[in-house]
């Protein structure tokens, strides 16, 4: 049982996780190993999490890797590396692209404007009892001419960790990628291989992204009723849905607490009937 090797490949829909794992599986099969590879289709393709469990060895039973038993975790995206980290065994190798794919759900806090996306902190990961091989494969791929070969660069990094020869890898690549992209993919693969061979932990630093943009603020929307003719433009456009037309077809504020002070209503009102003012938090709390 001990001779079975466990690889977990993860990323986001569209990044090429499944293609990458197909290539690894082809290498393993060609080498004469038993292989099982498991992934879930369907909802995962809708911008969601994509994973592929790959196990190879003399005889493989379970298609799934147990938590804490993956020898290698190959992550095509930063937040996905963190999500799947508990599958990596202590002392296992994490190959990670520092590229960020921020899901819409991480950008919905309109009070403090805090991003739900975790900071790209490679140094912290290095303290977690695993061997980290991080690179900016997305950037390297763009420099080569196509962000699509980021997965191939990471396969190059992976190739230094697994026992298969460069020829075996390149044969599998040739059999798996569209022929017109083979040269680019081979270039990407060799680049990944050399990055790791030179022992670089970091290749290209990620851009610093703020996690919190602002502090909570409060706004007051003043509507001059006599000027409002009830056209409803402000109601339709308010991003926070804090306005509506009352029974007399005049704009009114439903929930001032949701107003972010964007002033679209003030900007679009054809009758200059709306003014958005910032309140100090203190003032707001006095007014209840």
């Amino acid at each position: 049982m001990g001779e079975v090797r466990n690889l977990l490949l993860v990323g986001v829909g569209g990044q090429g996780v499944v293609l990458a794992s197909n290539i690894v599986a082809a290498v393993c099969l060609h080498h004469g190993y038993d292989v099982k590879k498991s992934e879930v289709h369907g909802m995962a393709q809708r911008g969601g999490v994509v994973y592929s469990h790959l196990r190879y060895g003399h005889e493989v039973h379970s298609p799934l890797i147990e938590r804490g038993r993956a020898d290698v975790l190959l992550a095509l995206e930063w937040a996905e590396a963190l999500r799947w980290l508990p599958y990596l065994r202590t002392g296992g190798v994490l190959v990670v692209d520092m590229v960020r794919s921020v899901p819409p759900i991480a950008m919905k806090d309109r009070r403090t404007w805090t991003s739900g996306y975790p900071p790209v902190d490679v140094n912290h990961l290095c303290t977690q009892g695993v061997e980290v091989r991080a690179c900016n494969a997305g950037q390297l791929a763009e420099d080569l001419g196509s962000t699509k070969v980021a997965n191939t660069i990471l396969l190059g990094v992976l190739s230094n960790i697994l026992e298969f020869s460069q020829e075996e890898w390149e044969e599998a690549l040739a059999a798996s990628v569209p022929p017109q992209t083979l040269d680019l993919n081979l270039q990407a693969f060799r680049l990944g291989r050399s990055v790791a061979a030179e022992g670089l932990a970091l290749e290209g630093l990620p851009i610093e992204h703020p996690t919190a943009y602002g502090t909570p603020r409060r706004f007051r929307v003043e509507i001059a009723e006599v000027w409002c003719k009830g056209c409803g433009i402000c109601v339709r456009f308010c991003p926070e849905e804090c306005l509506r037309l009352d029974s007399r077809e005049k704009a009114e504020v439903v929930d001032p607490g949701r107003c972010t002070g964007c002033q679209i209503c003030q900007l679009l009102c054809p009758d200059f009937a709306i003014a958005v003012q910032e309140e100090s938090l203190k003032e707001a709390s006095v007014r209840g």
Partner: protein, 609 residues
């Protein structure tokens, strides 16, 4: 056990679904039918790439089952595939097909989805085999998926019965090593008239039921045959009866335990099970979902342990099987091996960039509609940020439920049924006719993206294409709605924000049934549609977040801010150029990345006048 060097046969890594297709092909299958549904879809897609087989996407699973049964009675070997909930739709025919029996072998594949990776429930369809008194085969990996499919055809003919082949998501979507064999052409006897067997009038059906019951003991003998039953006697302290993928989890977690691996799980090889029980000190059943085997074994008086240690809900995994055996005292508590946990962001599935379903739901939310939804990609409109769907139950349920809600007279807003094109054709048409017949005051929104998108872009009658891409007659949805008696039918471009709002507003104001059909194709399947991407002019962006309300994965917060709010950026590599965000932007900050290229971009400019 493991032979590295194999005779001239080709070894391939196939998914369970591809292996089922291959097994059917090698068994000489002539007719294959089904309706797309995760995790079953790829079986027919794989078969459609092979020659000598008639393959069709049927309008729904019931029709698929009827077509397959008809072919079988005609003497051809026939395969019918569907996801677990599809068998609910097909069950009307399936239950009585057990009475009629078959001509050529008839194999029904039910792909169950424990854990609900992509389903609305996780019902255990093994009960259908017991319910219909038909044999049930459960492969445990791709190699068995191929072998069992071939075997299923033989059993079907031998016992004159449809055979249920049950896979799960994990079997269907796992690749394993499979050896290919040649196709064996199956000699058809043709259609043989036999009204007493094929015309299920009460008088004839009453004579068939005893036949159904009489064949069960004979099928038990097959369940004990070596190709379906595997004895693995090792340590006798613990014995495990298991089937399907659970077998491999048990092998992984308890490599030394004795195992009785069942290939046929209905009817059960009871004699052999009793013999196995006598060999071991403690007897466990490890099975996913319901205690299907456990209850049958207990009814036979066997002392087995199972669901007390292994969960009845969700998908099993080697982790859960290990935890179960730890709780049972078979294994010592495992020491934690997990390296560490670092917090990260959730990543639920979302509607794709350029998805034509976004704007209609944005409008419905703003119009305060109560939306009865249906099954498809658009069900994601129930989640943030659109949050514009109030119900989703089963294929085609939206329209009937909307009628009920309208008739109850308790809805807090206008009642709208939202249903995709493929789902509408599957089960929505009778409900639409019912709505008109009852003069229900509802709006039916048909989201026609010209494909079955959720399952990867399969054609349906509305597309005018077959599964192999050949031209056939196309269903005209507008004419169909008119023929059903709908007076108010409007077709609208869902990329035109203003027009979509107006069309839905008018339909809601119309008394009685009104239909709005959106007509933009899916941007991902069957072909990827990419237009010139848009970009954000940072100097113009006032960070109002209006475009963020679309939930478009191409739009994200930039590092720049405006009055303490983050501005936005558009990822040009994923933007499809749908123009919707540009139409919404109040400051015209969203503009074409390459202005002047392409002629399809007028719409965005027009609506802003």
């Amino acid at each position: 056990m493991h032979q590295r060097v194999l005779a001239q046969r080709e070894r391939l890594l196939l998914t369970g679904n591809e292996a089922i297709a291959r097994g059917a092909y090698e068994a000489g299958v002539k007719v294959a039918t089904g309706y797309p549904g995760t995790p079953s879809t790829e079986i027919l897609e794989a078969l459609a790439r092979m020659e000598g087989v008639y393959v069709e996407w049927s309008t729904n699973e019931k029709v698929a089952m009827d077509v397959a049964l008809g072919a079988s009675l005609g003497g051809a070997r026939a395969l019918c595939t569907m996801k677990h909930v599809g068998l609910n739709v097909a069950s009307d025919t399936f239950m009585t097909a057990s009475y009629t029996g078959v001509g050529g072998g008839l194999v029904v594949v039910s792909a169950d989805d424990p854990g609900m990776h992509s389903s609305q429930n996780e019902q255990d369809n093994r009960y259908y085999a017991k319910f219909a008194a038909v044999p049930l085969l459960e492969p445990s990996d791709s190699a068995e998926a191929k072998e069992f499919t071939h075997l299923a055809f033989e059993l079907s003919e031998r016992f004159d019965v449809p055979v249920l082949l049950r896979t799960t998501t994990r079997i269907s979507h796992t690749r394993g090593v499979v050896e290919l064999g040649p196709r064996q052409e199956h000699a058809s006897k043709g259609f043989v008239r036999d009204p007493g067997k094929y015309v299920m009038l009460p008088a004839y059906a009453q004579k068939r039921h005893p036949v159904v019951l009489a064949r069960l003991p004979r099928m038990q003998e097959v369940a004990a045959s070596p190709e379906l039953l595997r004895w693995e006697l090792r340590d006798r302290a613990v014995g495990v009866i298991t089937s399907g993928v659970c077998y491999h989890y048990v092998r992984e977690v308890l490599p030394d335990a004795s195992i009785l691996k069942l290939g046929m799980t209905y009817p059960l090889p009871l004699e052999q099970i009793r013999a196995f029980a006598r060999e071991v000190a403690r007897l466990f059943v490890v099975e996913e979902l319901e205690p299907f085997l456990e209850e049958m074994l207990r009814a036979e008086g066997l002392e087995v342990e199972g669901k007390a240690f292994f969960p009845r809900q969700g998908e099993l995994s080697p982790d859960l099987v290990r935890e179960g055996f730890v709780r049972a005292g078979v294994l010592p508590p495992a020491e934690p091996r997990v390296s560490s946990v670092v917090p990260t962001t959730p990543r639920p599935p979302v509607l794709c960039p350029g998805c034509p379903h976004v704007v209609p739901f944005l409008a419905l939310r703003r119009l305060g509609a109560v939306v009865c939804g249906d099954i498809g990609c658009y069900t994601l409109a129930a989640l943030e940020p659109l949050q514009a769907m109030d119900t989703c139950v089963a294929m085609g349920s939206s329209i009937g439920m909307a009628v009920g809600l309208a008739k109850a007279g308790t809805s807090p807003g206008p009642v709208v049924a939202a249903i995709g094109d493929s789902t509408f054709i599957h089960a929505g048409i009778p409900a639409l006719i019912d709505a008109v017949y009852k003069d229900a005051d509802i709006t039916v929104l048909i989201l026609d993206n010209g494909t079955t998108a959720m399952t990867g872009g399969q054609p349906h009658p509305g597309t005018g294409l077959t599964i192999r891409g050949e031209q056939t007659k196309a269903l005209d949805l507008v004419a169909l709605c008119r023929a059903a008696g709908v007076e108010h039918v409007r077709v609208v471009d869902p990329y035109d924000v203003a027009a979509t709002f107006v069309a839905l507003e008018e339909a809601i104001q119309h008394e009685g049934v009104a239909v709005v059909i959106t007509n933009r194709p899916c941007v991902e399947a069957p072909v990827k549609i990419r237009d010139i991407p848009f970009t954000v002019v940072p100097q113009k962006c006032i960070a109002c977040q209006l475009c963020m309300n679309l939930g478009c994965p191409s739009i994200s917060w930039s590092v720049e801010t405006y009055e303490g709010r983050p501005k936005v950026v558009i990822d040009p590599s994923t933007c499809t150029g749908c123009t919707v965000c540009a139409q919404l932007c109040p400051t015209e900050a969203i503009q074409l990345l390459h202005p002047g290229r392409g002629a399809t971009r007028e719409r965005a400019g027009e609506s802003r006048g």
